[in-house]
Subunit: 171 residues, 2 copies
């Protein structure tokens, strides 16, 4: 799929068909995540691919009852392995690096006719307990992944360019 | 350009031709950034598009002498306007949201035959002073943008999939 088409068609999917994600497609998507850039090429992203229905139910509970997390045939639990590095601009490396890799996943999912949804409302300690993730690892987002019940496009509610872009100086 | 091709071809460009970036292409790229998802659709990304040679020289100085920041015909200074929101998983929203939008920019730049480079080594206070960016705004990354001197593909040095993906549980 064309890059711009993927960017414009990507949407947050919260309702999935009862249809599994083939392994080769999942691998293709994760390979694209692997290509992401990261600070000092640290590649601190780590992914736990969850398919077991019991685990998905537990993750939905840890996501404060968001049942579509259990409905999706796959949940990619997106983590960072090393979390202490800070850039000279004072930004922590890992949230940015993981976000870039996850953005690749969401765009590739769209290109494959799949849908997903960034989940930020979850209890990280419960997720770590469910999946035996060590305490020093950070869980950044849960990403349910599957074929959308409604594949139609949605128009995006976004600020106009004039509100987000300035030229030469801030004001 | 095909999405996967853009993901695989994207590379960090640190040497640029003396050739300007046409406004319609820059606008097309920024429109794609605008389409990014964000926590609660907060869209806290803000961009300052810098073309003035004096400003670019000053930004290169603020980036600890990385001269290619001045060599690029455009520097997109990527900022966050609201920086206090935290997701229930305890992650700050703004670094992730800005990173998604900037990832869109880097991929679209590749699709347009342009190159760019995430810069994390800079003094944020100096950048804010140069461009009159208020203290409450966070500068997340500087993104020089231009036509690469060397448009050839590079092979990416990345960890194999087995090192970054686990199935069902962490171990």
């Amino acid at each position: 799929m064309d890059l711009y088409k993927a960017i414009y068609q990507r949407k947050s999917v919260r309702s999935y068909l009862d249809k599994d994600v083939p392994d080769p497609i999942l691998t293709k998507i994760l390979e694209a995540a692997r290509m992401a850039p990261s600070a000092s090429n640290r590649q601190e992203w780590r992914f736990v691919v969850v398919r077991d229905p019991k685990h998905r139910e537990q993750l939905a509970d840890a996501a404060y009852g968001q049942q579509f997390v259990a409905q999706a045939p796959v949940v990619i639990v997106c983590c960072a392995e090393t979390t202490e590095h800070v850039m000279r601009c004072h930004q922590l490396c890992y949230p940015i690096d993981v976000a870039i890799a996850v953005d690749h996943i969401t765009l590739c999912a769209t290109a494959e006719g799949l849908g997903c949804c960034w989940i930020g409302a979850f209890d990280p300690q419960r997720v770590q307990h469910i999946l035996d993730i060590p305490p020093e690892i950070k869980v950044v987002t849960l990403l349910p992944l599957g074929y959308p019940q409604d594949p139609s496009q949605v128009s995006k509610n976004r600020l106009p360019l004039e509100k987000i872009v300035q030229y030469e100086t801030w004001s």
